[in-house]
Symmetry: C2
Subunit: 150 residues, 2 copies
DNA sequence: TTTTAATTGAGACGCATTATCATTTGGAAG
DNA sequence: CTTCCAAATGATAATGCGTCTCAATTAAAA
């Protein structure tokens, strides 16, 4: 259902007056088949490992394009570099919990919070275009370690 | 009530085994009497204008110290530089709406959202240490402009 | 005062990202 | 299948925020 062939990936770009170059297809395909939250350098290294012909500059430019067109979400977890994740259903917004010990990222969705955010914005006559919520702390595994149960 | 004299500002540092230098006092005093969300460069420029003797490096170091001790909150609105705000009552957490046109920052507090955040964390056995919520979009004034009421 | 560890200033440095520009290429038109 | 050109790429220089280094200064304890 959400599985697309090479052809449909090309369509993604062509439908937006963008050339469907091999480099763009490689970046998009990688993000579409990856559940992690990669940064630009990680994307670059993974494509290199797959013998793909691509440069860092193109990675950044492609990511910019993908974000502009809502195919990819750009995330800032406050560690000095941006991360990217696929954004298949822009309707189905989710937020993130980031473990400050192991770096693990847990996604969650809470409709009540979503509704309250919209409400808060309305109360201030603010037109909400996007929003982010990050919870920082210790994931269950790392919290155990800190309790001395190692 | 929340107005402190020079003496009490010095106490803030001395109570934490930190020297109460003029530079530190200047930075802290500026943040304590400023409702805006300044970045390091803006703080530096404002102190220069007041003929204060301070360097950029010291601004950054002082901010780091103030954040560590919870006197100041470090905020990331995703535009590539950090902003700082006073943090008088760490209990009373608030979040931010950022206008992407004029850059205005509106603070808001919603206890229900706070509770739900804590709940979500607990459901994942996640120990929440801090959290941020940012709503991006258009403030009421800038939204009017976009409706053609200019 | 003397003393010393903490702090400062100036600038070098690091790192993620963006800009530049000559070269290449996707894909539309013929 | 060629021609053609705007769009895209690669290599690398440049940018900008923030951190680090280290010699000189200073807060504040003795």
């Amino acid at each position: 259902m959400t599985t697309h062939g090479e052809g449909s990936l090309k369509k993604v770009f062509r439908d937006n007056q963008l050339k469907a170059t091999p480099q763009r297809l490689d970046v998009l395909k990688l993000l579409m088949t990856c559940s992690e939250h990669l940064d630009a350098e990680e994307i670059y290294q993974r494509l290199l490992k797959k013998k793909k012909n691509v440069s860092r500059a193109t990675i950044y430019r492609t990511l910019e394009v993908l974000v502009e067109h809502d195919f990819v979400r750009k995330l800032d977890f406050g560690d000095g570099r941006m991360r990217y994740e696929q954004n298949q259903n822009p309707e189905e917004h989710h937020d993130h919990m980031v473990c400050q010990v192991c770096g693990k990222v847990i996604e969650f969705y809470n409709p009540k919070i979503e509704d309250l955010q919209e409400l808060v914005a309305q109360n201030h006559n603010f037109v909400m275009l996007s929003h982010t919520m990050h919870i920082y702390g210790l994931c269950s595994e790392c919290a155990e370690g800190h309790n001395g149960n190692e």
